[in-house]
């Protein structure tokens, strides 16, 4: 056996600190310093690229950023995003419910919908809705081959706005349905069984127990879809609806300041995306309860000694 005398006394014989008393530090290796240098270089390059390059034309960007035209385009983008997202998520919920239904006909209908919409480019979808009148001149409500209850010309229903909303929400409906379905599949079967034994109805099972668990799991993917939606709104320029991107395109087709005007749009997309990401992190925090680590405050008086308490 070796002699541990220096360790026990806490002092080595020659007066140096013994190894077990030495503080533990992470070394800064060359790679660390290199990474800092890389960061500094990238920052400098970005600064030179963005700030010092006169072709960005920051004065023009500043002049247009809060201009009335850009603001109205921005407003249109926000409105169309909010309406289409709300309608799309509602549609997605419905389709997901159909796909998980006990009835084979509903399952098949939902599967067919998802299949067709996922195969169709968003642009085509919007054009289809906008030119629906060419396919069906009048829209009617009623049973097949019977006299309809209500009948209206398609062109009265389909405006640029409604075509955009219908097209975009149909698109989101198919994608979010798959996300919702994945969320339901991710819930442990035991959670449903626990709800069954407590006598919870299907509605309460979903709203009180598994719903919050599903939201927690699907928030990242849904946020992705919503952010995509902000940018997908630019697709509606094909039917002449003037949202943010169309607005700046119209402007630079006149003043030829293409890059500055596109930058204006990018800045606003950055702002909108940041807001969406903020909402996402809030949702993740709210529905992370019981999953995320937290500081446990023990009302420790009783302690584990009182466990069981049985004879």
């Amino acid at each position: 056996m070796t002699v541990h005398e220096p360790l026990e006394s806490g002092l080595a014989r020659d007066g140096k600190t013994p190894p077990h008393r030495m503080p533990i530090r992470d070394p800064k290796r060359a790679a660390h310093w290199l990474s800092y240098a890389l960061g500094a270089v990238v920052l400098l390059l970005v600064f030179r690229f963005v700030a010092l390059n006169p072709h960005w034309d920051w004065p023009t960007i500043g002049a247009w950023l809060f201009s009335k035209r850009v603001m109205s385009g921005l407003l249109n983008t926000v409105v169309i995003t909010l309406v289409s997202t709300a309608a799309g998520l509602a549609l997605g919920l419905l389709i997901a419910a159909f796909r998980l239904s006990n009835f084979a006909v509903l399952r098949a209908m939902a599967a067919a919908y998802v299949w067709v919409v996922r195969a169709t480019p968003g642009l085509v979808l919007i054009l289809f809705v906008y030119f629906l009148a060419a396919l069906v001149p009048t829209l009617s409500l009623g049973l097949p081959f019977a006299d309809p209850f209500v009948e209206v010309p398609t062109n009265e229903v389909i405006s640029q706005f409604s075509a955009a909303v219908i097209g975009l929400s149909a698109y989101l409906g198919a994608y979010s349905a798959e996300i919702f379905r994945g969320g339901v599949l991710s819930v442990h079967q035991g959670q449903f069984e626990a709800c069954h034994t407590l006598g919870l109805s299907t509605w309460r099972t979903y709203t009180k127990v598994v719903g919050p668990q599903i939201i927690r799991v699907i928030t990242p993917s849904l946020a992705n879809e919503v952010v995509t939606m902000f940018k997908n709104t630019s697709l509606v320029s094909v039917i002449g609806y003037v949202e943010l991107l169309t607005t700046v395109q119209l402007v630079y087709s006149q003043n030829f300041k293409t890059i500055p005007m596109l930058t204006v749009a990018v800045i606003w997309y950055l702002v909108l995306t940041s807001l969406a990401m903020l909402g996402q992190s809030r949702l993740e925090k709210r529905f992370g309860r019981g999953f995320n680590r937290r500081v446990v405050t023990n009302t420790a008086s009783a302690g584990p000694a009182s466990q069981g308490g049985a004879a």
Partner: protein
Amino acid sequence: MTEEQPLLRLHEVEKHFGDFAALKGVSLTLAAGTVTCLVGPSGSGKSTLLRTVNLLETIDGGAVYLRGEMLGFTSRGDHRRPVTKKTKRRQAVNFGMVFQSFNLIPQLTAAQNVALGPVEVLRADRAEARRQAHELLTRVGLADRVDHYPAELSGGQQQRVAIARALAMKPSVLLFDEPTSALDAELVAEVLAVIKELAEEGYTMLIVTHELAFARDIADEVVMMEDGRIIESGPPGQILLNPATERARRFFASVSH
């Protein structure tokens, strides 16, 4: 059958999963206030039997009666049909079930888990339900853990919360599906102690377990299953110490060491 009517009666219960017959006509009666332990090798149908009782599994033949009421089906002339979802829920809450994997709701605290059923299903007053939850958690030795989330509790503590949750619905029969199989050895005792206490209080219980010493300790009747059938049943002393069938003898010899 008026006074002698058993609390729970299973009559030639059959259950198939595709081609596989999980239960091949199982009959069993439980008198009020008795403890019945189901034992047997894995795959013998113990858990399936337990799950048919509270309608987690739909049976394919036979019937389950609680106080003479057939569960899960109503008679219609010459045939039976499944009851409505609402009736099914009403019948299911007669049974408190404790699962092998606890199945607590992760985003709810211990007290919220226990109060969930009373508030959402029994329409109890929230404050009253919370008070009752505290009382039940105290009873299972978790007075200082009421505001903890399941992830912050040990397995044994989680299972005791699950027991408190089952009790909160004031069930007629308690069903335990291998309540200690997912627990570390040193946590098994605390859960078994709680179950034993409930047995002494007169709860009617049906317990699937591999803890034979525990079964001998608390059961009024031990039922041995094999291959979807009951092969032997009787008081624990007789079944566990002096089994009549060769198969039971081999099984008990294999698990007692």
